[in-house]
Homo-oligomer: 456 residues x 2
Amino acid sequence: MEKVIVVGAGLVGSLLAIFLKKRGFEVEVFERNPDIREHLQVSGRSINLTLCERGLRALDIVGAGEAVRDLSVPAYGRLVHDVAGNLTFQPYGNRNEAIYSISRSGLNAYLLDLAESGYGLEVQFNEKCVGLDLSSATIEMQNRVSGHISRHKADRIIGADGAFSAIRFHLIKTYGFNYSQQYWEQGYKELTVALGAESGWLSERNALHIWPRRQYMLIGFPNVDGSFTCSLHIPLKGDPSFQSITTEKDLTRFVQASFPDAAERFANLAEEYFTNPPNYMITIKCSPWSHGDRILLIGDAVHAIYPSYGQGANAGFEDCAVLDTLIGEYGDDWHSIFLRFEEARKANTDAIADLCVEHFIELRDDVGNPAFQLRKQIERKLSRLYPDRYKDLYSMITFTCIPYAQAIETDRTQRAIRERLLKLAQKNNGIDNPELDRAMESLMREYPGLAHAAAD
Amino acid sequence: MEKVIVVGAGLVGSLLAIFLKKRGFEVEVFERNPDIREHLQVSGRSINLTLCERGLRALDIVGAGEAVRDLSVPAYGRLVHDVAGNLTFQPYGNRNEAIYSISRSGLNAYLLDLAESGYGLEVQFNEKCVGLDLSSATIEMQNRVSGHISRHKADRIIGADGAFSAIRFHLIKTYGFNYSQQYWEQGYKELTVALGAESGWLSERNALHIWPRRQYMLIGFPNVDGSFTCSLHIPLKGDPSFQSITTEKDLTRFVQASFPDAAERFANLAEEYFTNPPNYMITIKCSPWSHGDRILLIGDAVHAIYPSYGQGANAGFEDCAVLDTLIGEYGDDWHSIFLRFEEARKANTDAIADLCVEHFIELRDDVGNPAFQLRKQIERKLSRLYPDRYKDLYSMITFTCIPYAQAIETDRTQRAIRERLLKLAQKNNGIDNPELDRAMESLMREYPGLAHAAAD
């Protein structure tokens, strides 16, 4: 029986191991960190992410979709907070679709439970990769508790070990490996808004909350227990920045001035701010994703992206489903599986990486703008009147499995239509007027608009 | 006394160590390879490079310029070979300037001799960096012969350890380190044309020879002993490529068809081709170049570029001179020295990296074209008539020390002038006609053209 070693038991590694076990392989899983389930309560950090169609569809294949939805809070739109405390709701979808807010560690714990109890996998924790022989697919692990070093040989080794992948650090030294890592000049820290308070904006639980302030922003993710986990995004340097806010007084003054309706709600603002290290935002692109027919990289190890579009975990889960399909098609021809996998995914993950950079700036700078909101209204009207022919980009990325690059390409072809309509809407102070309706009809008559239908 | 460890005793490491010793520092030098001087005759490979104004000016500061010129062959232009064996000479400069063709290992050996005999430095060979503590500037070296591991602490550690820098591999794992490495789909192998033959093109020793053939090319560098070292540039994959040429018959057929006037001149064509591994072409960009005020990267470790513009060693030598100047200005304020160094260099080395990619394509595809040759003639005429106001890009890069980015920017502003004149020259079948002269005068009247004068 073919033996596959999966390095990394984070979100993608856990799900990948399940997919492989389901295919009948002997699967060994190594994770450099301690078992996250033993520390769920200790760390005090609940980093949240959102799942959407792509991720959930992959989870459904291994029977994990329903349980994961139960661990999540559906959010039907974003609620934008201005400095005066006014709220504007922007629905995500046009048909009441939701994205699912979930604790990263909670999701990881669930997948580990499923891997062990549901699929009979055993995950070895505290095992750090300290060596890799690429040609024989032999990996050297060191136990971080005992210091014990062990060697493991497999037919395939798949690195699902994240943005700082140890497996990739071996590939980076091989000839012909193209690689880039680019940090953003901003980072973020998690801050908790405690459960219990039911008044004001806190009662709006089925939404992501966002306080866009141009150079910085706050995002609030709902938790199942009624609390919110917020991400405070600010620059790493300059003013304000993680460097400039160094005392409790600085922090309080900054938060009260910038996010007054959130300021009083934080459970342990100063403690969390000064204890939690900032999370950095990094974009990683590379190629090739494999070495011969023995070594493969997957997930953040080959395409780390900003969290701004909520796609990191979804892209990684989609990777797993695509790889699984290719294994089904190509059997033991791993050379073809690995090449087809990169062919199927790389253009798409590069495209979503670039989109995440754009979208981060849009979230921070534009979502509060009248023009942005008017554009969204136009897109909603277009989607309502031409449901099979016009899909806005956010919906294609989030509520379909249209390949990322194709969604972005479709959006580009639609740009001329909505920009033309935006001008008319600005001129006529709104989207409900005969001139705009006539222009919309005429523009849509000429627009083929079906490029994405087949893949949806 | 301040102690500086230089990692790498290649071209840049050797010269840097000399500069630092000259400033009065205690300098330790480690090199992972054996002493190149013991293997000069053994390897059979003479990889050539060319030195120009920037590199020579840096060498002059430490008193190495004259000796290095004596080890070099001046080349006053490129001699382009077409398939029929016709030769076209393209002078590099407008005032009989030359670039200097020299054996890489010969130059390195000379600098090592100078470091030891002239400056009392001791270089430790076969010492491979296996660990680095960034904050305390402590480096762990393993001797590749004895296996012995030693630790060395310094006030500063400077990584001059090339495109595959071990020091950089420690920095790449630190937060905020932006990095990219991109390989080209072509590579090259060195092939020797033996000395002795004095007839035909071989008597043209004061030129670089080039056989541009679009998808591939051959370049011949003169050696002081009368032989030539050629670089055969072909794709890594496809046809023809290193992959497709696998037998002596394939090789002979390819070389005879593509470079007929060179084919019979190779000393050991098949042996060299099948023994020498291909050299890959890689572009490396990164930032920051330093970590705190203790660790710095220099040379190819931070800006590996294609060899197409003959700038790799020159850019690295220029680094050394710039760093030396900054040490003179900022004394023991290493924080400022390191920041100013990157400020002074990075935009320039990024610019030359991009230019090398463009120039590689130009060399391979365009130097044989009538339009390319006409454009060169126009630039020569402009430089002759307006010597203080028009400088062609190749001259600025090669025969001045104008910062790379500024040279490229100046060239951009000149583009409109020469493209306008090119059209007139094409229309009038040449550069000597009244219409073109009038246009040149009028265009140059409006062109300020002095942006680069101060830095020249």
